[in-house]
């Protein structure tokens, strides 16, 4: 039996459905934290989902590749040495109402972590994840997903994609895993009528037109960075505007650098991995004391080479930016992606 291309669910039924999901897995959705900021967070009841949010302060990688993550524990086992126990996280997680840019960020992480040798910690969490995205109908001041081909609507990559249409949500199915969720929902979803599917197409066109203001000039930047045509003085000037907080790496949905640290006390211990940032002065510090990127200029250059050069884009299918705009809000200096691409394009600050 062929499945319908899309479904529809009413708003009251949506809440009912979310309640069922919460009973089945850990549901992570936009949630208003104390103070009013919206963060992707664990929700315990359907009314905690902030459906009307614009962006979340954190990307999804916090749940798939946590900032501080235990990799393994060890224990002294008699006189025979150590007993090692890897700590995989097999929690079932449903990511609900995530923005297209953030879902695109997860797809990017998939490509990074699935390269050989596969990152078993990330991939285990991913195998236990379901991705339900929510399309964007309102551009947000800082974001530029259209420049990064990462939204506001997605064609693939989601298990389910939700679009808010006047009274209802249109639900597109991207994978069998998504279809499974619909099938389990027992009558909460109905096949979408053609006019609703058409309404979603119209909305996409209309929204893309409103997102169209070009904010980040990736093509020109890619060319110049790839062929090393950015003058050193420009990197130097950008370095003056980097305060080495590492925030850009931490809020970036596509940054994946980490370091490891071991803890031990009597007879036991554990190894953690922690987020790292390529802008930190000791990021490339070698045991000999030599540091190939001792100058901040070289670190800024390395960061944007990694984000914007064709060499990396070819390997990972796209440049390392999904246009979420978080670096604009979080940079202590002024080295966010749109500003940097604009400087590279102009060749000066």
């Amino acid at each position: 039996m062929s499945q319908p291309a899309a479904y529809v669910i009413t708003r009251p039924r949506l809440a009912e459905w979310v309640g069922k999901l919460i009973g089945r897995a850990q549901v992570i959705a936009p949630r208003r934290a104390q103070g009013g900021d919206v963060a992707y967070d664990i929700v315990e009841t359907p009314d905690q989902v902030a459906w009307d949010y614009s962006t979340s302060i954190n990307p999804l990688k916090r749940f798939l590749f946590p900032q501080g993550d235990e990799l393994l524990r060890w224990q002294r086992a008699g006189d025979d040495g150590l007993q090692l126990e890897p700590t995989y996280d097999e929690t079932d997680r449903i990511f609900l109402a995530v923005r297209s840019c953030d879902l695109s960020g997860v797809l990017f992480l998939d490509r990074v972590f699935s390269r050989e040798p596969e990152d078993v910690y990330y991939m285990t969490r991913r195998q236990h994840s379901t991705l339900i995205s929510l399309t964007c109908s309102e551009p947000v001041e800082d974001c530029f997903c259209v420049c990064a081909d990462a939204g506001p609507f997605l064609e693939t990559g989601f298990d389910l994609q939700l679009t808010a249409l006047s009274d209802d949500y249109l639900v597109e199915v991207g994978t069998e895993k998504g279809q499974e969720l619909i099938n389990q929902a027992e009558g909460l979803f109905a096949p979408a009528p053609d006019e609703l599917i058409q309404a979603r197409r119209d909305l996409e066109k209309e929204v893309e037109a409103r997102f169209a203001e070009h904010k980040s000039y990736f093509a020109a930047a890619l060319r110049k960075v790839t062929f090393d045509r950015v003058p050193d003085e420009l990197w130097e000037e950008m370095a003056d505007r980097c305060l080495e907080c590492g925030g850009c790496s931490f809020v970036c949905p596509t940054c994946t650098c980490f370091l490891t640290a071991d803890w031990q006390s009597e007879g036991e211990g554990h190894r953690d991995r922690l987020w790292d940032s390529c802008l930190y002065s000791c990021y490339t510090l070698e045991a000999s004391g030599h540091n190939p990127r001792a100058q901040r200029r070289d670190r800024v250059k390395a960061r944007f080479f990694h984000k914007l050069s064709y060499q990396f884009a070819k390997e990972l299918e796209t440049h390392g930016c999904v246009g979420c705009g978080r670096c604009i809000a979080t940079c202590l200096g002024s080295n966010d992606m749109p500003t940097v691409t604009a400087r590279i394009r102009r060749g000066a600050i």
């Binding site: 949630r31 934290a33 104390q34 103070g35 009013g36 900021d37 963060a39 967070d41 664990i42 302060i57 954190n58 916090r62 946590p66 900032q67 501080g68 993550d69 003056d240 505007r241 305060l243 080495e244 907080c245 590492g246 925030g247 931490f250 809020v251 370091l259 640290a261 803890w263 031990q264 006390s265 953690d272 922690l274 987020w275 790292d276 940032s277 930190y280 002065s281 000791c282 510090l285 004391g289 809000a329 979080t330 940079c331 202590l332 200096g333 002024s334």
Partner: protein
């Protein structure tokens, strides 16, 4: 709620951050987008704040000294020992024989309770914190200076200013939340004037960079005032103009080595500014002639076009709750809210609320307390790391009959203790911090303390009971309710109100009049009474360089809250192990002396010598050599600790030295 909103535990800016929690485990830190201080941003320390809580080096059980070593003990054993010894010493020698150091990093509630315990249960006004040297302590004794150790302006005034002075401070190192604002102001075209011996990162964006010979900052400030005031008609009886009458640009150049043309440029910029803002930190206050330099800076507003509503002094503290510790009466001469212990009515008010008679004699400041008290109780303070004279501090602590340290890590001070009590980090307790601009903000419990560690306010309550003064609080919220009753500047503060907003700034009524007339003001004089000779040492052929201790350089890398946070430790370069102290030297001087990066040199002063490794720097001006103040123990023979002549506060003065290859 798995994202717990709290306040950063590092510098005095007080950015808002969320701790990400799963179960009771801390997973990470996220910046708060809506927070008025951080505005969605954090520095490296903030982004790693959870690491200090999850550190494997946390104290997990009480420790009691047995012979020469500290050994694990139960809470009962440790606290009864503390209770008995303190009771006995008080009975033998009186309360004045006991000293209490609270903390620029503990919450307001904890500081309040410990000050209460000291005064009501131990009967002593020896209540202080050694990190108070971050500002210009002792000035509270001198009403005319009081306003200088309070931040009259706010961080957002940086965005409103039309001229910014960075006076002997590098905000990129010290206060990144302020640096972000200065950077934006500079990008928007606001002139920035940097005054320093070691150019900071923002110096690249500064329009005017002034490098006074270390020790001549007062004379430079006076020279700028001279130029600015000469642009306006002097008011009748204007003592300030008379004070700086002789500080002409040529005189200033002679005293400071700053070219007269630069003095004129910066002075004219000041005269023309509507909203000049002077950002300063311990670099200015702990310099020689620090008090007079700050007095001169406080006159900058008056020398400009600023109107009476503009505050031109932005003093930034290096500790998350430096302001709060003082607000809570962690001062030898004030009860909470700067209410003098010498006032009988004030003492009566607190005595009634606390149910105990209070001592009326002012206590000793931290640097005088050490060596003069028989017992010392230290909570979250680390005098070995804070006080300038490390050797004298260690000796004094070693001679103390009974030393108790309550902390989250085994600090250099804790290593010397008879009893160590494990406290809770910022992530494991409720409370409030007050930031450098007087914003009272919530600290919220997100996880449990490790092992047997307990929230510090609970430990104090327990101990107070053992000292015969039971404290019965169900929560820090109840403590704050008591504070609001007794402390007028906190009368508006309640947890409910703090939860509804991002915090509340306690008001300095008439901030400008406070800035211009002294906090608590009684029409105090403006500006320095006189401009004395520079404190810069005389250089000659034998000692051709001026060595200066830089308080911002490397300070964080040596901080226990950084050293014990594993990722942050690496970011700050604290992972490199024991090394020779680094001596920052200008490229020109290095070339002259044929010195390269890492060259081992001997630094000789009239008082002694030390070895260091050269760091070739484009940021240091020729003629100056710079050493991090955290290296002061190794440098004690060449940089002898001295005292400010007016306030008696210990300071590190610049000295003339020679530098030779070993």
């Amino acid at each position: 709620m798995p994202h717990v909103l709290t306040t950063c535990p590092y510098c005095g800016c007080g950015c808002g951050l969320y701790l990400q929690v799963e179960g009771r485990r801390l997973l990470g830190t996220t910046a708060s987008a809506g927070h008025p201080v951080g505005q969605g941003r954090l520095c490296a320390k903030g982004w790693h704040a959870h690491e200090l809580a999850t550190s494997g080096t946390r104290l997990r059980t009480p420790l009691v000294r047995r012979g020469s070593s500290l050994q694990q003990a139960s809470w009962e054993e440790a606290l009864s020992l503390v209770g008995e010894r303190l009771t006995a010493i008080k009975a033998e020698s009186g309360g004045a024989a006991i000293g209490v150091l609270a903390s620029a990093r503990a919450t307001n509630e904890e500081n309040y309770l410990l000050a209460k315990l000291a005064r009501s249960a131990l009967g002593t006004n020896n209540v202080d914190f050694s990190a108070r040297l971050d500002a210009l302590p002792g000035l509270f004794d001198l009403p005319k200076y009081r306003h200088l150790s309070l931040c009259t302006a706010g961080l957002d005034d940086i965005a409103a200013a039309d001229l910014v002075f960075l006076w002997q401070t590098d905000p990129v190192e010290e206060h990144p939340a302020a640096a972000a604002r200065v950077l934006r102001a500079a990008e928007a075209g606001v002139p920035v004037v940097e005054v320093t011996a070691r150019r900071g990162q923002l110096g690249e964006l500064a329009q005017i960079s002034l490098a006074p010979r270390p020790g001549s900052e007062l004379q430079l400030a006076a020279g700028l005032l001279h130029v600015a005031l000469s642009k306006t008609e002097p008011a009748e009886g204007d003592s300030l103009a008379a004070t700086v009458a002789n500080c002409t640009p040529d005189q200033t150049e002679a005293a400071t080595d700053v070219p007269a043309s630069d003095v004129i440029r910066a002075g004219e910029a000041l005269a023309a500014a509507d909203k000049p803002l002077v950002i300063y930190t311990r670099g200015a206050s702990l310099g020689p002639q620090g008090a007079d330099t700050l007095m001169a800076l406080s006159a900058f507003g008056k020398a400009s076009e600023a109107d009476d509503s503009w505050c031109s002094l932005l003093w930034l503290s290096s500790y998350c709750n430096f302001q709060g510790a003082r607000d809570m009466g962690v001062l030898p001469y004030f009860l909470a809210g700067y209410q003098p212990v010498s006032e009988e009515t004030t003492r009566a008010k607190f005595a009634e609320a606390w149910g105990a008679a209070l001592p009326s004699e002012a206590g000793l400041p931290s640097w005088e307390m050490l060596g003069r008290v028989r017992a010392l109780f230290v909570m979250g303070d680390d005098p070995v790391s804070s006080l300038p004279d490390v050797a004298a501090t260690r000796q004094a602590l070693g001679n103390t009959d009974f030393l108790v340290v309550q902390d989250i890590f085994l600090t250099p001070t804790a290593e010397m203790a008879h009893v160590v009590l494990p406290g809770a980090s910022f992530a494991e307790k409720d409370g409030t911090f007050t930031n450098t601009e007087r914003r009272v903000q919530r600290v919220r419990r997100a996880a449990d303390p490790p092992g047997e560690a307990r929230a510090d306010w609970e430990i104090i309550c327990d101990l107070s009971g053992r000292l015969g003064r039971p404290m019965d609080y169900a929560s820090p919220a109840q403590v704050m309710a008591e504070i609001a009753e007794l402390v007028p500047i906190y009368s508006e503060i309640s947890y409910q109100r703090l939860d509804e907003d991002w915090g509340v700034r306690w008001s300095l009524d008439g901030a400008v009049s406070a800035e211009r007339a002294g906090f608590g003001g009684e029409g105090e004089e403006e500006g320095p009474a006189s401009v004395s000779q520079p404190a810069a040492p005389t250089v000659d052929e034998e000692y051709p360089f001026v060595l200066v201790a830089d308080h911002s350089l490397g300070a964080w890398a040596a901080d226990k809250l950084v050293v014990n946070a594993v990722g942050l430790r690496r970011q700050q370069g604290a992972d490199r192990g024991e090394q020779l102290p680094e001596l920052w030297m200008s490229r020109a001087d290095c070339q002259k002396g044929e010195l390269r990066e890492g060259t081992r040199v001997r630094v000789r002063a009239r008082t002694g010598e030390m070895d260091a490794a050269v760091h070739v720097s484009d940021a240091v001006h020729a003629g100056a050599v710079v050493l991090s103040a955290v290296m002061r123990e190794a440098a004690a023979s060449v940089l002898p600790p001295g005292a400010d002549s007016e306030t008696g506060v210990p300071v590190l003065r610049p000295v003339a030295v020679s530098v030779e290859k070993v």
